[in-house]
Symmetry: C2
Subunit: 374 residues, 2 copies
């Protein structure tokens, strides 16, 4: 059974988990619901008497557009989750991976909530900067060849070449927002001239973004998550869980760090301009500042404690971390531009119905992005 | 026949080429000689009445030390030669590749001579800077993802992961010369203190070399030759042929350019200090200068003519080429240090019998290397 891939539904998902595991008792009553809200995969949550499990399944077609996408992405995701969970508690536990049905059976993290929505609802998580920098430093640093054996790292670079997912990022993050060559950018009428002048016609910006694009595509520094926005971060009072690493590959650490920072800026400007929540604004501003301070401190410390080869001396470590931080701010900028100009918006922007406030919000985000990049 | 790998000898090499090709006439008298002088592979030259062919064969054991080395290296070499020959005439023509016998059958380039020996013999090749920069720019630029489709380039990065050969360079070029941790460095008694102070105890140098090591290991910029010293360059009045790309992988272009420059410095200082050949000295100095000027001019021009994506604008191209050149000078420096301090010396150094001249020569090379790197 299950020797050929087919897409589960709520009923067949229950049959599947009963057949594949003894996670639930034989007579236990189970309920299943498809809870996927992304545009890529299907997510079945199966609830028993006392516990629950999540099955994440990939199809040969994208969930949203039904266009074909390499199904190998879910193998990459399961392998990345295994590696990350060996370094950090802030990822869901993996029970098994089925390489025929393309299913990851994993911990149900429903007790954690989508961080983007939580921030939109004005929830403060005082330890977030500390928690996310732990996750970043703990999962990124050990996958560099400053720490890993060169041979093992090269095998992982080879294994995690992630052509189709990288192609999406190269296009959506580093190309379309600057040219609209696919005619998919979505720009408010009142911001057209602003975007034309400051983004489309800004040669200095293009030069700087081109360097970051080239770095994204060539710098096989560490096994990065690849899509670390606040919708991939689940959070509650006790901690965070990072999910959805299907964009993972060997790339620059700064891309992950920059994505986190960029997404906090969305929440920060939302609270300044739309909700006028001063406490949230200050909390988010402080969190961004703390992330930078903590990354510097923790990454230097971890590198110092793990590096074996003396040529990677103290001056090298300081320079390496400083460059990572300045690149992170630039990647925060590219994330901010693409979410305002491109077609993959964030809720902090699209949920704003007052058009003048949204114009203000978008310009604040773009101006900050230009400052970070140029 | 030939369905299992075995190492050829002069006789079986003749049988092999007769069986595998009709390159020679059925009754043609053939002579074969093993002419390999490297420490890795075997090279059989087979000569008929009017033409000749070279068979390069890899064994499971290294030719020199008899230690095992991944035999896949010769597949990489044949694939690299095919790619390079599609972009440049300055590589030998490949007739066929045998993936069982691990043999490349290729053009006999005996009419070209080993450039290191030619320079030692005081031969001037006025067009070398022009020819080598054509080869470098023509083979390196088209394998970057500024030009190649991102998807194809990633597949090539994956295919050309070259673990064992890169490991050798990482060790011999970027580790051992700075620590002697394997106790294999070979240093003249009279230069011990100089090396101790300026190389082993030079933290600033270690920092700079660490950045170049990290760049060598992480920057998958282009399909590079990986070992482009003057012994891999064959030359005559009509042109050059570049051989032996078994160290090839996706790495920084600057490493290839730097190797060429570093090896010209060996010849330059040899002519200044040992042979007192002023004309050669000036020719070599001018060649180094011209390589830098030509790389800048040709690489910018080629990038401008081939780049499709407008984000890679003029400022980006200038910056990209300038960084390539400054990195090239630093890699020239690491090549110069490793050939003086490490155990893989060059003939320009080892052939010098007058010990005081050799001391002078080594110090001049090391001082120049320190200037280039720091």
């Amino acid at each position: 059974m299950y020797d050929k891939h087919f897409l589960l539904d709520d009923k067949s998902a229950i049959d599947y988990i009963r057949y594949k595991s003894d996670f639930f008792g034989a007579d236990e009553k189970l309920v299943c619901k498809e809870i996927g809200d992304g545009n890529i995969n299907y997510v079945f949550k199966i609830i028993g008497q006392n516990k629950s499990v999540v099955l994440k399944q990939a199809d040969v077609l994208l969930r949203s557009s039904k266009r074909p996408l390499d199904i190998n992405r879910i193998y990459i995701e399961s392998e990345v989750l295994k590696i990350q969970s060996s370094y950090s508690k802030s990822v869901p536990e993996i029970y098994f991976y089925d390489d025929i049905m393309h299913i990851i059976a994993m911990e149900d993290i429903s007790s954690y909530k989508n961080m983007r929505l939580e921030l939109l609802n004005g929830r403060i998580f005082p330890d977030f900067a500390d928690q996310i920098t732990d996750f970043l430093v703990d999962t990124l640093v050990p996958t560099t060849d400053l720490i890993m054996k060169s041979e093992e790292k090269k095998k992982d670079v080879q294994k995690f070449i992630n052509i189709e997912m990288c192609d999406i990022s190269e296009d959506l993050v580093f190309t379309e927002p600057y040219y609209d060559y696919k005619n998919r950018n979505i720009i408010l009428e009142k911001n057209r001239d602003f975007v034309q002048k400051n983004i489309y016609d800004n040669e200095r910006l293009h030069f700087k973004v081109a360097i970051m694009r080239n770095n994204f595509m060539n710098n096989a520094q560490a096994l990065i998550h690849g899509d670390l926005h606040t919708g991939s971060i689940f959070i509650n009072e006790s901690g965070i869980k990072i999910i959805d690493p299907e964009f993972a590959f060997y790339g620059p650490m700064a891309y992950d760090i920059g994505n986190v920072i960029g997404n906090l800026y969305f929440a920060m400007y939302y609270n300044e301009i739309v909700s006028n929540n001063k406490q949230m604004y200050e909390y988010l501003q402080r969190s961004i500042y703390n992330i930078i301070v903590f990354i510097k401190k923790k990454m230097e410390k971890k590198l110092r404690s793990l590096i074996q080869l003396p040529i990677y001396n103290d001056e090298f470590i300081r320079n390496y971390v400083d460059r990572t931080i300045s690149d992170s701010l630039r990647y925060a900028g590219t994330e901010m531009i693409r979410r305002v100009v491109g077609d993959s918006k964030v809720l902090e922007i699209t949920s704003v119905k007052d058009i003048d406030k949204r114009v203000d919000l978008e310009r604040s985000i773009l101006n900050r992005a230009l400052m970070l990049i140029c």
